[in-house]
Symmetry: C2
Subunit: 218 residues, 2 copies
Amino acid sequence: MPPQKTTFENLDQSKRERIMIEATKEFAEYGFHQASVNRMVNRLGIAKGSLFKYFGTKQGILEYVFGHAVTMLKAPLKQIRLETEGGDLFERVRQVTLAGADFIEAHPNIYRIYLKMLLQENFPMRERFLTRIRATSGKFLHSLVQEAMESGQLRSDIDTDMAVYLLDTTVDRFLQSVAVPFLDGDSILHGADRQTIETRLDSLLDLLRHGLSGIPKT
Amino acid sequence: MPPQKTTFENLDQSKRERIMIEATKEFAEYGFHQASVNRMVNRLGIAKGSLFKYFGTKQGILEYVFGHAVTMLKAPLKQIRLETEGGDLFERVRQVTLAGADFIEAHPNIYRIYLKMLLQENFPMRERFLTRIRATSGKFLHSLVQEAMESGQLRSDIDTDMAVYLLDTTVDRFLQSVAVPFLDGDSILHGADRQTIETRLDSLLDLLRHGLSGIPKT
DNA sequence: ATGTATAGTGACCGGGTGGTCATTCGCTAT
DNA sequence: ATAGCGAATGACCACCCGGTCACTATACAT
């Protein structure tokens, strides 16, 4: 039995896009529970019944919109992994981070939804979506570190798990700092332009590479 | 004119405490908008009108409860700064992080409110509270780095702002990772006991101190 | 012109919300 | 006993919510 098309999928593309954009905006601004279907349909100029015909429930709208976006995450990561194969770990991490910045710039509202989901236990689909995202980005970094370890780019005595953790969280937090105020202490990142982002990132990666200490390891 | 006591401040301490605890729990579980005053009063067994007499509005409840907690943050930080004066930077950072872990263990619901506030632009009082908190912890770390810099504990060529940023966000994220699932890639921190926390933290600080690279800086 | 399938509609429902206020309660001083 | 007063009450209000469904509009095949 071929999957029969939903009402929503029969709409012309322009209408579908308008609805997706407006719904994404609403969830990005208000999170899930505060988001209002009434507001969505008012801004779209369509009847409330229509939206429920398309997606069943409010949660269904979120699942469709966000699920779609999560799928788009994998492609650029895979590409980077292939393009930079065998290269320097920190250069690869740099590429990943900048790819993240590109994604956020291209889909800022999707990223806002992700951030709200992160720290709100009540957010529907939280566990499912976050698991998917973490699996994607976590496994990726893990393999990068593994390869770097094997090619002797890293100190042999380090705790691999902690190294992955440090890189993972640093990248994640770096992107958050650019997008959200109050996360970088002196606001040296929030809202920065591309040029500044790259400079700061290089500086940060240098610290990770060589450490902060002025005293050589004995 | 002496500040005249509010109705709430005239209550006996046990009742005041019960109310504070219950309100904190409600906000911690549901955030601000989803939190329900009806639920609070039902669980407390008091009339809804009473709560509004005490605090005026729902937001007033939050301000009272959370504002009180934020004030308590400063004392332990100041103490650590004094007790460890002149000591090794990383040891001082270690102390601060563990103090943070202690605070979270003692006031888990306050920390949950803080986390929800962090990434929700609609949260009332967000800007005011976050500014206060960041000012407290940010300036603190800044002074630690400054002192370490002057006593030659750090490489002289590093970007001070980025060093502060790296330490600040690493500590912050470390605590988040312990408290929240999905933030540490392979769940090596979430829900860990004190012993594990200390071991991991030492490992992490070692990475920050000496860097990840196996190739010495030229 | 008629039938059929699909898309679109919006008044309506039950329920929860933050907030109000006229009233009652409980204690203390006289 | 009684007067006075702050604490406590809960029915009530206007509002907004997600979701429903009987109905209409449109397009195409016959």
